[in-house]
Symmetry: C2
């Protein structure tokens, strides 16, 4: 037996009806009730090797938490350096919003530029371990890019379906990796319809959000890392831009597993869902006190990652919000764009519009008094702004290096930059 | 005294005339001869705390090597999680090119998406420590984005000058961070002319490549990391896309320091410069046996980071290539685009065109026999492909999710994707 840790995966369990299934064959949703399957582990065994002491010398990557992750052979897995993202203190942002301590979990530093890398590394890696040759999914963009990258790394085919108006950078990335890219007239759930038809016809492995059990395991590592980065403490609040909500589900599961392993106590962060005013199914259901969220009609927002009108795991997300005494809020597109701008200018983090939504929510919740000044609050920056440059006005002045009065030319250019309207 | 390690910076030394200068005040090039100044350390003192054992529990970031870096107060420095990039084994690429072991140092995972983060974190951090309020530089794009980000994080102003045809993503990033962006009719050395005029007139701190001593120190960490990641061994060869060449200069200095500290022996990797056929000043000088490279006329290539017609450190780059028995090669734009495509499709790494040049060079040098099959070779992927989506043709098929025969629609879309010409 190797002295390297290995996965303590034991079985799958339905999050709704509790039915159990073996973990050593391909799985989608619960064959009994159609709801979300979760991976289960021998946590007692895991806790014997996954200790704060042993972790201190492990690399900061998904392999850090091998015991409670599903990959059976980490050395053969299609990893690309995902995970281990920084948890930045952002003192200027904290001061601007009236917090003592604000933290940003910077997921832009993952491969393919977003948090989607974590989930898809696991899902694609596990798909290969279980014999898949082609993976497929519907996506607002980031998940497609991650799927395409991990499929290339794993030597699998990839088919991704995205809304027609997906930002060009995400399409370019998928095409660069050699994925088959299909654009769909509609939203992400329309793309899901296309992928399910294709999966049935062509045998693709569908790695849609929470329609297979392993993406949530990758996302779980965000919760594991935050707790370890805070010295085995949970923060007071986590603000998370929520589309399909795999991150909320994954982190909530992470905290439960860490408690069972004796690594944290019963305290939990307030889990705070942020959605766009133009697409707020979870926030609406939370406000109405419901456990399920009907499809949001006419969904629209400039933040594609949270333009998700229906989430299969609505009940799991709403349970986490409720049990943690968190909340679910909305922000306007203007507010989220302002959040994006503020984070870049004050802290040097050029993040996605979804991240801007989390920044805007931090400000609103502090102003409303839901969060106290000394609530240690983690804002999730879920991805890089580089996929969203269409949201940045670009019109810098141009000067001639051979201008006889360069200093005057520079001065003129600077004045032009400062004027509110440029032509 | 804190038990945290601290910088053992002692003074600056001219790389050409050997004159020494204090390190506690702002510095540019050598006041005596105009050549490049390098930072010097008390390496004996550094070696007492920077040991393989102590490093094993330090975070993988620039702070890992505090002793031999210039930042005096790492806790106050404007860090964003730079450094600690993966050194991926790329077995499919190795097999395709005929190597036993090929490795890719994946610098796309740095803040702002490129290796420039390392140097600018140091230069901007050090500028602030020495009292600067505004930093400025000419850039092909990536260095400008990094400067803008670190200046925002440090609370400094930033002015960046870039060629008129710089990719939009880099401009957007700089503008998002609140930098003043000036476009220049010309190449990067024309931009340098603008910045030097502005620095003289307005007191900006010029952080141009190797015109201040600290960017090279940040780039040095690429060499430190590779050696540590290989278990305190140097690789057999390092293939590096070379514009200003700070990375070559920095890594070469890193190896010398590690040897003086007793952490490695006298062996050195072959340092291999890659340039574009359309802009090859260093490769031409190397071929001619010269130590200085005249300005390359009519420079052109699709890879902006290596469209650098003149390098102030030409003699340092050529010394490293010569002393290491490396070489300097060129690749065509077609070859570097093919390298970019091959890396993405075989290994799931969507990298910059400069990285594609390094990939293409690995193939050429193996084919030519300059590198043997068992030469353990590191290819530098200097940045993300996300800043270069203009190089990727984007024209995926669009389908209607309400098509009565979705499977037929998908089949049609897939056929369209495979056809070489789409309209």
């Amino acid at each position: 037996m190797s002295d390297l840790p290995h996965s303590q995966l034991t079985h799958l369990e339905c999050s709704n009806c509790g039915a159990e299934y073996p973990a050593d064959q391909p799985a989608t949703t619960c064959p009994g009730c159609g709801k979300v399957l979760l991976a289960r582990y021998d946590l007692a065994a895991a806790g014997r090797t996954m200790t704060p002491q042993s972790l201190a010398t492990r690399p900061w990557s998904l392999q850090r938490y091998t015991e409670i992750l599903p990959i059976q052979d980490p050395h053969a897995a299609p990893f690309l350096g995902e995970g281990g993202s920084p948890l930045h203190a952002v003192p200027r942002l904290a001061e601007a919003f009236g917090f003592t301590t604000l933290l940003v979990k910077d997921e832009a530093l993952n491969p393919t530029g977003s948090f989607k890398a974590r989930g898809l590394a696991m899902a694609v890696g596990r798909a290969r371990e279980l014999g898949s040759t082609t993976v497929a999914l519907p996506s607002a963009g980031n998940a497609a890019a991650a799927t395409a990258a991990y499929a290339a790394r794993a030597g699998l085919g990839a088919v991704v379906a995205m809304p027609e108006d997906t930002p060009a950078a995400m399409l370019a990335e998928c095409l660069a990796y050699g994925a088959e890219v299909i654009l769909v007239k509609g939203l992400i759930d329309d793309c899901g319809k296309v992928i399910r038809a294709g999966a049935a016809a062509f045998g693709w492995t569908d790695v849609s959000t929470l329609r297979e059990p392993y993406r949530a395991e990758g996302k779980k590592t965000m919760g594991l890392e935050i707790v370890e980065q805070l010295g085995w403490q949970v923060p007071d609040a986590i603000i998370y831009p929520t589309g399909g909500g795999t991150g909320i589900v994954g982190m909530w599961k992470a905290f439960a597993e860490l408690e069972e392993m004796g690594l944290i106590g019963p305290a939990r962060p307030k889990m705070i869902v942020v959605q766009a005013e133009g697409c707020a199914p979870i926030a609406n259901a939370y406000a109405a006190g419901e456990r399920h969220a009907p499809r949001f009609q006419d969904a629209h927002t400039v933040a594609p990652g949270i333009r998700v009108p229906a989430a299969i795991a609505d009940y799991l997300i709403l349970d986490a919000v409720g049990e943690s005494r968190g909340t679910a809020v909305t922000v306007t597109d203007e507010e989220l764009l302002d959040g994006m701008r503020t984070l870049a200018r004050l802290e040097g983090l050029f993040a996605s519009p979804e991240s801007g939504a989390a920044v805007a929510a931090a400000r609103k919740l502090r102003e409303a008094g839901f969060l106290a000044p000394d609530d240690r609050t983690v804002i999730f920056s879920t991805g890089s702004g580089l996929m969203h440059i269409d949201l940045i006005p670009i019109n810098p002045p141009v000067i001639d290096p051979n201008d006889p009065d360069l200093v005057a030319a520079i001065t003129g250019a600077r004045a032009q930059m400062r004027s509110p309207v440029r032509d």
